[in-house]
């Protein structure tokens, strides 16, 4: 059984350890299949170019899913209560991305925390921005 992070062990201003990962085209295709988003823009460079895109892109839903998994890898499974995201730029696969978050607020009554979350590229460009609420132990 995975352990939930304790509310007392977290402080406002804490930054989560950044997770870097190489996002391959095959991973994006696997998500598109499992996520019910099998479309040329997410699976095939040529098909995506025909839609005016620079090549196949990562579904926004996948970016959101990666952020959710990143948060729960730190806090424990089933701790995510809310996640809001804005997709600001195209996340192109076959490159390294970084998943990041920082604690902005603690709420004692509900033992929950608010975080800023973002997905960024190698040079720090933020392609997905958002906020999240986690319920801690």
């Amino acid at each position: 059984m995975a352990v939930r992070r304790r509310f007392e062990d977290v402080q406002e201003g804490d930054e989560l350890p950044v997770r870097s990962l190489f996002l391959s085209k095959d991973q994006v295709r696997a998500y598109a299949r499992a996520g019910g988003q099998w479309s040329p823009r997410f699976t095939d460079d040529e098909g995506a170019r025909r839609e005016g895109l620079p090549g196949m892109i990562t579904p926004g839903n996948m970016s959101m899913g990666l952020l959710a998994s990143f948060l729960e890898a730190w806090a424990g499974p089933a701790t995510l209560r809310r996640l809001g995201t804005t997709f600001r730029g195209l996340v192109l696969p076959d490159r390294t991305i970084r998943l990041c978050a920082a604690v902005t607020q603690k709420e004692s009554a509900s033992r929950s925390i608010e975080l800023d979350v973002w997905l960024e590229g190698d040079e720090g460009e933020r392609w997905v921005l958002g906020t999240a609420t986690l319920a801690l132990a």
């Binding site: 995975a2 990962l21 991973q27 696997a30 998500y31 299949r33 499992a34 996520g35 019910g36 579904p59 926004g60 839903n61 996948m62 959101m64 899913g65 990666l66 959710a68 998994s69 729960e72 890898a73 499974p77 089933a78 995510l80 209560r81 809310r82 996640l83 809001g84 995201t85 804005t86 997709f87 958002g130």
Partner: protein, 142 residues
């Protein structure tokens, strides 16, 4: 209100669709595609539940109400973001009722011109009438 829309459209339900039942295989494939390793999301058995973002798979039977389809070319749109509020976990065997409403329509002007944002709210309920998620899907049209 942009697009000369009747404000009464806001909050109106335009679709109600039941999807599922959800299978364990679907839940596991979804979680593994995200690189998940928590057994709650990846191992078959009585403790299996959906990854928290599995709820974004449910999009109902109609993308927009008819009145919006007359004014907006859906193909011109891009997913601009989502807000999900999670309730009860989704489990294998669940059927999910998706109730779709127009939550918000607004216009923004940026460097590249005017953009219309349409927010569709999907309220997802399981067969026990428990809310599993409320998903606000924000679509942007140029």
């Amino acid at each position: 209100m942009p697009l000369a829309l009747d404000p009464a459209i806001i909050g109106q339900e335009f679709d109600r669709t039941v999807e599922g039942p959800v299978t364990a295989e679907e839940l596991i494939a979804f979680a593994r595609a995200l690189g998940e390793t928590h057994p709650e999301y990846t191992e078959p058995g009585p403790g299996l539940v959906a990854h928290p973002t599995f709820c974004v798979r449910f999009r109902g039977g109609r993308f927009y109400p008819e009145i919006l389809l007359k004014l907006i070319d859906v193909r011109s749109g891009f997913d601009a973001g989502k807000d999900i509020q999670l309730g009860e976990p989704i489990r294998p065997g669940d059927t999910i009722e998706v109730c779709s409403t127009v939550h918000e329509v607004y216009e923004k002007t940026g460097r590249t011109g005017s953009m219309i944002f349409v927010v569709i709210r999907y309220t997802l309920t399981n067969q026990r009438r428990e809310t599993v998620a409320v998903v606000d899907n924000r679509f942007m049209h140029r």
